[in-house]
Amino acid sequence: MMYRLAYWAKQAQDTKLDDLLQHMAETLEAESHVSPDIKQPGRGDQALKAFLIRRVSSAFWSLYGQPLDEIAAQITTVVLNLETPLTRDDVRPYLVPPGRK
């Protein structure tokens, strides 16, 4: 425990404000080149379905190494409490293959 606390204290001591600012500048600059998750934010909740499908699908790729489209469709349906259940065919148009922006 002491070792862990001392480790964090040392890392804090070694972290300069300049490191944090550099980190922030690089992250924001990289983010400025990325297409936003919500392309038409003014559409409000209409955009939520596409946003959620992408995030759930992305989580499946990260966790299980596969998109699990059918399950992504069902989870999105339940989360948003949709009257008409989504199918895998409804989900696929919103997805971008991994590695492509």
Partner: protein, 210 residues
């Protein structure tokens, strides 16, 4: 509240805790006047780690549906089977719920201040240029440069001292500035102390085997 036996236990536990948090918040409803006063004293901006109370209620409703909707009956066992192939992840299902929860929070935050893609890019690059200007300004001033080097340690130590003072561990009359750096340096010395570094409480001798 009894949930179906196919509902993942870890998410049932999270729902129970979330409901308790909402109930506690509702039990301490502040008057408008007091709420305004509290907000003036401690302005807390909504973020993905500090959701508004109303957002927690939305999340509780969503989680309840995920734990009870008949369509989820086959989904959770299927995901549990897939999860057993991932021994390096402790709770993939909990991670999945976190993703859903944070997606809902992110969407709310992103749509609260709508930006077109061009506006977003322009705004981000504007911040980048100001951050770079700040870096240059700091490096041009000797005191600012020296202080910026230790700022992280001093800031964290001060927060730690405030916490310990609030908990009653440190007498309130202690001046934080005076002992701030001293305590910080103590921790560094402890890190460099071989006996402390090698201390292993799980070993019967208290020291690591060589």
């Amino acid at each position: 509240m009894a949930f179906p036996d196919w509902a993942p236990a870890i998410l049932v536990d999270q729902y129970t805790r979330l409901s308790s948090e909402i109930n506690v918040r509702q039990a301490f409803v502040l008057t408008d006047e007091k709420e305004a006063l509290v907000e003036n004293l401690q302005p807390v901006e909504e973020s993905r780690l500090s959701p508004r109370p109303a957002q927690l209620e939305v999340e509780a409703d969503v989680l309840f549906r995920l734990l009870t909707h008949p369509d989820m009956r086959s989904i959770w066992p299927a995901l549990s089977r897939l999860s057993t192939r991932l021994p390096f992840l402790t709770e993939p299902i909990s991670t999945l719920w976190d993703e859903v929860k944070y997606a809902l929070r992110d969407f709310r935050i992103l749509t609260a201040h709508p930006q077109t893609p061009a506006e977003r890019r322009k705004s981000l690059l504007s911040v980048v240029s100001k951050v770079k200007a700040l870096q240059q300004a700091i490096s041009a001033d000797p005191f600012a440069k020296a202080y910026a080097k230790e700022l992280m340690a001093i800031h964290l130590t001060r927060k730690n001292l405030n916490y310990r003072r609030d908990e009653g561990e440190i007498p309130p009359e202690y001046e934080e500035e005076r002992i701030c750096l001293a305590l910080s340096l103590d921790c560094i010395k402890a890190f460099d102390n071989k006996e402390i570094r090698d201390y292993d409480p799980e070993n019967s001798n208290g020291m690591k085997h060589r």
